[in-house]
Each structure stands twice: as structure tokens, then as C-alpha cells.
């Protein structure tokens, strides 16, 4: 099993989620995160001073998939999260040693 972790733009979430559902992974976990990278922050003003916010809102999607689904999952995410502009984010793949479904106690691939 692999954990696919994608840090994407918040407004791409709905599309990515639909795409994952389509390839058979409705079970996902979402976290609001802030990211810093090449993308420049947003210019803001406060009481007459301009300043730049360093961290931008991003969304982290985590989905644990079967080894053989790694590629198509990554592809589905990348395709649907892309805007082509700096700040589109990253996808990381991690090894998973085990998974357990809390409700039933099933472990391993059956738990996904």
C-alpha cells in the first residue's frame, strides 16, 4: 500500500475528489494547510502599510491506495489539480506498512 499525499490549491479540491472517486478511491482525508514555495505571497494592506503574506492556503489530500494503483492515482491528481501557474503544489508517495479499518478491525489491503 502507498499513501499518496497531495498539496494542492483549495479551489481544485472538488475536481480532484471527483476524479479519485471515479478511479475507485472515495475514501480520502483532507487537511487545511499553509504552503510556502516558489509562488509569491499575496499582497495585502494593513492600516496603511502594504505587506506580503508568506504562507498561502493549500489543501492536503491523503489517500492510501493499493500498490498497483499508485500511478493512476498520482496521474488523476496531477491532471485535475493543475492550473499551470506557479503554486500548483506537489504530490508525494510514501510506503504504508499496514492499514486497519476501525469499524471492523480488518487489516491490510482489505482495510482500504
Amino acid at each position: 500500500m502507498k499513501k499518496i499525499e497531495a498539496i494542492i490549491r483549495p479551489d481544485k479540491l472538488a475536481r480532484v475528489k471527483a476524479a479519485l472517486e471515479e478511479i475507485g478511491y472515495p475514501g480520502i482525508t483532507i487537511t487545511d494547510v499553509k504552503g510556502h514555495g516558489k509562488q509569491r505571497g499575496i499582497l495585502q494592506q494593513w492600516r496603511g502599510q502594504a505587506y506580503r503574506i508568506d504562507f498561502l492556503n493549500k489543501v492536503k489530500i491523503e489517500v492510501v491506495v493499493l500498490d498497483e494503483d499508485e500511478d493512476k492515482t498520482v496521474t488523476a491528481i496531477v491532471r485535475n489539480a493543475r492550473s499551470g501557474e506557479i503554486g500548483d503544489g506537489k504530490v508525494f508517495v510514501y510506503p504504508v506498512e499496514n492499514a486497519v479499518r476501525v469499524r471492523t478491525g480488518e487489516a491490510g489491503v482489505n482495510a482500504i
Binding site: 494592506q45 494593513w46 492600516r47 496603511g48 502599510q49 502594504a50 505587506y51 508568506d54
Partner: protein
């Protein structure tokens, strides 16, 4: 004069409206500060409400409005509100107790305004003591200008307090900001307000409450009250307009926060002349106040690097001075024979207003310095770094604003 029910009705309400400026200040400030200092700031304003009430009824009122003692302070005739009751207050058609209540709210608002300058880095204990002492400090300008003191005799007029309230609060603020020093992180991003809805609520409450502040100062429900209310609204509008145009042209984007601040600056300025000038003059007074405020902020925070956290000196102090002078320019004789330069009254009123402003500035500045210096010496003025970092809500009150 006998009590008039209509006048009494209006001043009863106006008293409530001035009270409502306290939450106005509390939310304006809390919203424009960081989430970790929200309880602290609201507690400070709440303290202005309850502590001033208690001290003012005992001693503050009589020091301001007791029989004049050599032009300096009022005598102790009204100590503990003795002889102040439901009968008409001399020279008015409203009950003495109501006159007291209206004045009390002014005292509370004045000290509440200072909380914006000292925010996020003054120990509650120190603030508590500061409020208590401030009731005494405030008695001087109040007596001098409104209580028949020497400035009043000199001819200084101040309809609802550009001098007594806004210069007083403004100068105390800048002194306090200097004594406290800058917040950790001053000048860097990260000090932005945590909740602009809350701040806007404060701004709107202040605009609303100011109708009572200025309109109620007529102490009657008549044409003067109406004039004051209209002028208040107009100066708020034009002050907001000026500040918004400044940010729009400078950053390409108009700022709500600066618009709100501009409306406050406009009202602080028109407060002195609310009953003396025409609505069109009020528009002009407000525009200038809005511009002065923006420029003042660039000077105080930008150039001088003084951390007057919510710019009380620029939103109240500078417009307060301008408003005091503006009476000398725009007063058109509609009330009490006060006539300014532009209505052919010559320079005398302008000069007198300048003297009044300077005197109050110096006095309040000096006394504020004295009390804050003592608190600093005592080592209770400012929290330690860890406490400031964790925020005063936890450090001083063990309460978090948001779960």
C-alpha cells in the same frame, strides 16, 4: 428651569448611546488585534466601564462639576453624588442625575480610547491603576472647559469634546505607547487584526453612539441637537471618504479598515464644533481629519516608529486638535455667538482654541507620563516576553477568546 420630558428623553437615550461607544471601542480594537489579546482588550474596556463608574460617582464628578475653585477644579459639594437628584440640573431642563450619568459616560469613553494604544502589552494590574488615576487626570480638562474653569472663562469652546475627550485620549495614548515600547514583532507582518467583522461592528457602534455623544451634548432635543447629529454624520462620511481615497490611490485598492478609521477621525474632529458649524463645514472638517489621520499614521508609525497599536493618537489626537482649531475657523455664530475666522469673527477664537488644545495636551501628557513612569519603575507595566508571546488573554486572565 423645570424638567422638560422631551429633553430628558433625548439625554436619557444619548447617555445610553455614549455607553454603547464602550463596546464600540472594545470590538473595534479586539477585532483589529490578534486573537490572543482579545479578552485582554475587552477586559480593559470593561474595566473602563465599571471602575470609572465607581470612582466617578464618588469623587470624579464633583471634581469636574462641583463649584469652581479658582478655575482649577470643582469643589467637593457633590461628593458621593450628594445633592444630585431627580431635580433639574442648573441651567438645563434635565434631572441632575441624568447630567451626571451623561458626563460619567464621557469619562469612561475617554479612558477606554487609550486601550487602543497600549494594546497587547500592558499588564492588567497596571491598566487597572491607570484607569483609577485617569479619572482624576480627566477632571482637569473637563473642569477647565466644561465645568466653568479657566479655559472656559478664556473663551475656549468645545461642544462635545474634541479637546476634553479626544486630545486627552490622544496624548495619553502617545505617551503610553512611548512608555510601553513596541510590541514584539512590530513592523513585521503578523500583527494584523484577527476579525474584521468584529472590528466593523465596533466602527458602526461608534458611529451610532456618536450621535448621542454629540447630539446629546445639546442637553436638549432641539435644533442644536439636530445640527450636531447631522454634522457628526457628515464628518464621519467625509472622513471615511478621504481615507478610502487615500488607500485607493496609494495601493490601488480601497481599504475598509482605513475607511472605518477615517470615519472616526472625522467624528473626533467635528466633535468640538458639532453645534457651532454648518453641515457643509462639517464635510470639510471631516475630509481634512481623514487626510491628517492618514498622514499622521505615516509619521507616527512609519517615520517615528512609535507603536501606538491602533493609532489612537492619529485617529483621535490629531483630529481632536484640528477639530478644536476648526471651531475657530468655521463657527458661524449659530450657537452662543461663537464666530470663527471664515464667518468674519477674526482670529481670536482660533487663538483661544489653540491655547486650550496646547494646555490640555501638556497637562494630560505630563500627568500620564508621571503615572506610567511610576508603574514602569514598579516593574508592573509590561508583561515578560513569554507572557507577551502567549498573549495576555492566557497570561493575565487565563481565558481564551476562542475555543
Amino acid at each position: 428651569m423645570p424638567i422638560n420630558a422631551g429633553d430628558t428623553a433625548w439625554v436619557l437615550v444619548a447617555t445610553g448611546l455614549v455607553f454603547l461607544m464602550l463596546p464600540g471601542v472594545a470590538f473595534l480594537e479586539a477585532g483589529f488585534l490578534r486573537a490572543k489579546n482579545v479578552v485582554s482588550t475587552m477586559m480593559q474596556v470593561f474595566t473602563a466601564a465599571f471602575l470609572v463608574s465607581i470612582i466617578y460617582i464618588i469623587i470624579g464628578f464633583t471634581l469636574s462639576f462641583g463649584p469652581d475653585q479658582g478655575g482649577i477644579l470643582g469643589g467637593l459639594s457633590f461628593l458621593g453624588l450628594r445633592d444630585v437628584d431627580g431635580n433639574a440640573w442648573a441651567g438645563t431642563t434635565i434631572p441632575g442625575l441624568l447630567y451626571f450619568a451623561f458626563q460619567l459616560m464621557f469619562a469612561a469613553v475617554t479612558v477606554a480610547l487609550v486601550t487602543g494604544a497600549i494594546a497587547e502589552r500592558m499588564r492588567y494590574l497596571s491598566f487597572f491603576i491607570f484607569v483609577a488615576v485617569f479619572v482624576f487626570i480627566y477632571a482637569f480638562p473637563a473642569h477647565w472647559v466644561w465645568g466653568g474653569g479657566w479655559l472656559a472663562r478664556l473663551g475656549v469652546v468645545d461642544f462635545a469634546g474634541s479637546i476634553v475627550v479626544h486630545i486627552t485620549a490622544g496624548v495619553a495614548s502617545i505617551v503610553a505607547a512611548l512608555m510601553l515600547g513596541r510590541r514584539i514583532g512590530f513592523g513585521q507582518p503578523g500583527l494584523e487584526g484577527h476579525n474584521l467583522s468584529l472590528g466593523a461592528l465596533g466602527g458602526f457602534l461608534l458611529w451610532f453612539g456618536w450621535f448621542g455623544f454629540n447630539g446629546g451634548s445639546a442637553l436638549a432635543a432641539n435644533g442644536v441637537a439636530a445640527t450636531a447629529l447631522v454634522n457628526t454624520n457628515m464628518a464621519a462620511a467625509s472622513g471615511a471618504f478621504a481615507a478610502i481615497m487615500m488607500t485607493w490611490s496609494r495601493f490601488g485598492k480601497p481599504s475598509l479598515v482605513m475607511g472605518i478609521n477615517g470615519s472616526l477621525a472625522g467624528m473626533a474632529a467635528v466633535t468640538g464644533g458639532a453645534g457651532y458649524v454648518s453641515p457643509i463645514s462639517a464635510l470639510v472638517i471631516g475630509v481634512v481629519a481623514g487626510l491628517l489621520m492618514v498622514l499622521g499614521m505615516r509619521l507616527v508609525k512609519g517615520k517615528l516608529g512609535v507603536d501606538d497599536a491602533l493609532d489612537v493618537s492619529c485617529i483621535h489626537g490629531i483630529p481632536g486638535i484640528w477639530g478644536a482649531l476648526a471651531v475657530g475657523l468655521f463657527a458661524d455664530g449659530r450657537l452662543g455667538n461663537v464666530t470663527g475666522l471664515f464667518a468674519g469673527g477674526g482670529l481670536r477664537q482660533l487663538a483661544v482654541q489653540g491655547v486650550g488644545s496646547l494646555v490640555v495636551l501638556a497637562l494630560v501628557g505630563g500627568l500620564s507620563f508621571a503615572v506610567l513612569f511610576a508603574l514602569k519603575r514598579a516593574g508592573v507595566l509590561r508583561p515578560n516576553t513569554a507572557d507577551e508571546l502567549v498573549g495576555l488573554d492566557i497570561a493575565d486572565h487565563r481565558e481564551k477568546a476562542y475555543a
